[in-house]
């Protein structure tokens, strides 16, 4: 592995000082244009450049799902995607779920079912649940488990998350259609 003395030196975002490259994309419905470091991850871009701190970094290696965002309608681990790969992409982060200061049905159901405790996994968990309901408005428990398979939660034991998604699905079918 790396030869650094402190793990931090290896894993923290370090500016490569390479010539900047243009990046154009849509984040939560808004057009963004920036000149960026070609080696930075989408996660670092969202947090460092756009100051969207909702998306979390847990492991930085694809294991935990805390960094999950929706890119072109599909969930991705933003720690494993280069920002430049999101060229012309449509990105949805946790900040894009609520509308006009009102929490979405999915978020409301997470609160109602106590589907979070420390909340660190929650933004990623919500994005996985959002993408799941977008592709399948009436998921079975099995499908929910598959949909959140990449989101680790050390607090809830997952049952309350599953309950929240089930009940959000029901409400969305009733209220949004």
């Amino acid at each position: 592995m790396c030869n650094h003395n402190r793990k931090k030196d290896c894993f923290e975002y370090v500016d490569s000082q390479l010539p900047r490259v243009p990046l154009e994309l849509v984040v939560n419905g808004e057009k963004v244009y920036e000149l960026i470091d070609p080696t930075m991850t989408l996660l670092d871009f969202l947090r460092n450049n756009l100051k969207l701190f909702g998306t979390k970094e847990g492991c930085g290696e694809g294991e935990c799902g805390a960094c999950t965002v929706i890119m072109n309608n599909k969930t991705v681990n933003s720690c494993l995607v280069l920002a430049v790969e999101a060229q012309e992409a449509d990105i949805l982060t946790i900040e894009g779920l609520s509308k006009g200061g009102e929490l979405s049905i999915l978020q409301q159901e997470f609160i109602k079912h106590d589907a979070l405790q420390c909340g660190f996994c929650t933004p990623g968990m919500l994005m996985s649940a959002r993408a799941l309901l977008d592709r399948n408005p009436d998921p079975t428990v099995e499908k929910i488990k598959e949909g959140i398979s990449g989101n680790f939660c050390r607090c809830t034991g997952y049952q309350s998350v599953i309950d929240a998604v089930l009940s959000a699905a029901k409400r969305e079918r009733e209220e949004l259609r």
């Binding site: 975002y13 490259v21 990449g150």
Partner: protein, 285 residues
């Protein structure tokens, strides 16, 4: 990221190949679910990163009856999971795809990246081995096709040269009644590399084909073992015999992070029995 690389995403195969030819120390980026970890951990340092996801050939997946299925290098694991035709014709491939990592990883991870990464425990290797898949390779010098059984050269090593790109894998078509299963054992369900991954295939002529991953330096096709059971009926006694025989071909690391060698020997046996039983059940239906 500590690697300082120039990033390039060509729109054609020709551009990609000539970039690769001109720029030594280029690494290919597909889904990035393996290479991003290496770059981040500073295990791998590259000067150029070539994203192949813009190449039209890489984005094709096409099935031709009586010929087979071509899976381009940008096709993701989830695209395999969702394809009903693949599930019908090559069930062990779908089975292995279902079990690879997590949902979001599967949205990015490619089939071709899985074999190019050449992990001894690559989940998609065993199914591709029992189907005699062909690896399609291109370079500025021309194209070549390598049998999947000759593609792996060691732990994280393949026969690929620095100037070569895999454009896709081709899986020959199967006849009606062909069947296969994939079984794996990992520390936790899903989302962890397997301790043992096993693909078994039974052709309509009752030929049994076998491949196993994570028990040696590369995924293994068990050709010799297949020959020694040729023409024999699959009975519990034969299963017991295979369970003992298979150990001769295994060469697991004495103590890896995931499990001891003894455990892998044991699990291989359990999976063989389970897999043969499943194949026979499927046949009966």
């Amino acid at each position: 990221m500590l690697s300082k690389f120039a990033y390039y995403k060509p729109e054609s195969l020709e551009e990609a190949l000539s970039y690769l030819e001109k720029n030594p120390r280029t690494r290919i980026l597909a889904g990035g679910t393996d290479i991003m970890l290496l770059l981040r951990r500073n295990v791998e340092i590259c000067e150029h990163l070539l994203n192949i996801k813009g190449i039209p050939e890489a984005n094709t997946m096409s099935y031709t009856p009586n010929e087979g299925l071509f899976i381009g290098a940008a096709i993701t694991v989830n695209e395999i999971c969702e394809d009903v035709g693949i599930r019908k014709r090559y069930p062990s491939l779908s089975g292995a795809a279902d079990n690879l990592a997590s949902y979001q990883i599967r949205n990015r991870a490619t089939v071709v990246g899985n074999i190019c990464n050449a992990s001894p425990g690559a989940d998609l290797a065993a199914p591709l081995l029992v189907y005699d898949a062909k690896v399609h390779i291109a370079s500025t010098e021309g194209n070549r096709i390598v049998e999947i059984n000759e593609f792996f050269a060691g732990v994280k090593k393949t026969v690929l040269k620095e100037n070569e790109i895999v454009t896709g894998v081709f899986i020959p078509d199967v006849e009606l009644g062909d069947n296969s299963v994939y079984l794996r054992k990992s520390r936790i369900k899903g989302h962890d590399l397997c301790n043992v991954g096993l693909a078994l295939r039974l052709t309509p002529e009752k030929r049994l084909l076998m491949a196993i991953a994570a028990v040696s330096t590369t995924p293994l096709r068990l050709t010799e073992l297949e020959k020694s059971v040729e023409g024999k009926e699959i009975t519990p006694e034969l299963a017991d015999w295979i369970v003992e025989e298979i150990k001769k071909y295994m060469n697991p690391r004495p103590n890896s992070v995931r499990s001891s060698a003894e455990y892998r020997y044991h699990i291989a046996g359990v999976l063989i029995k389970r897999g043969l039983k499943k194949l026979l059940e499927k046949e009966a239906n």
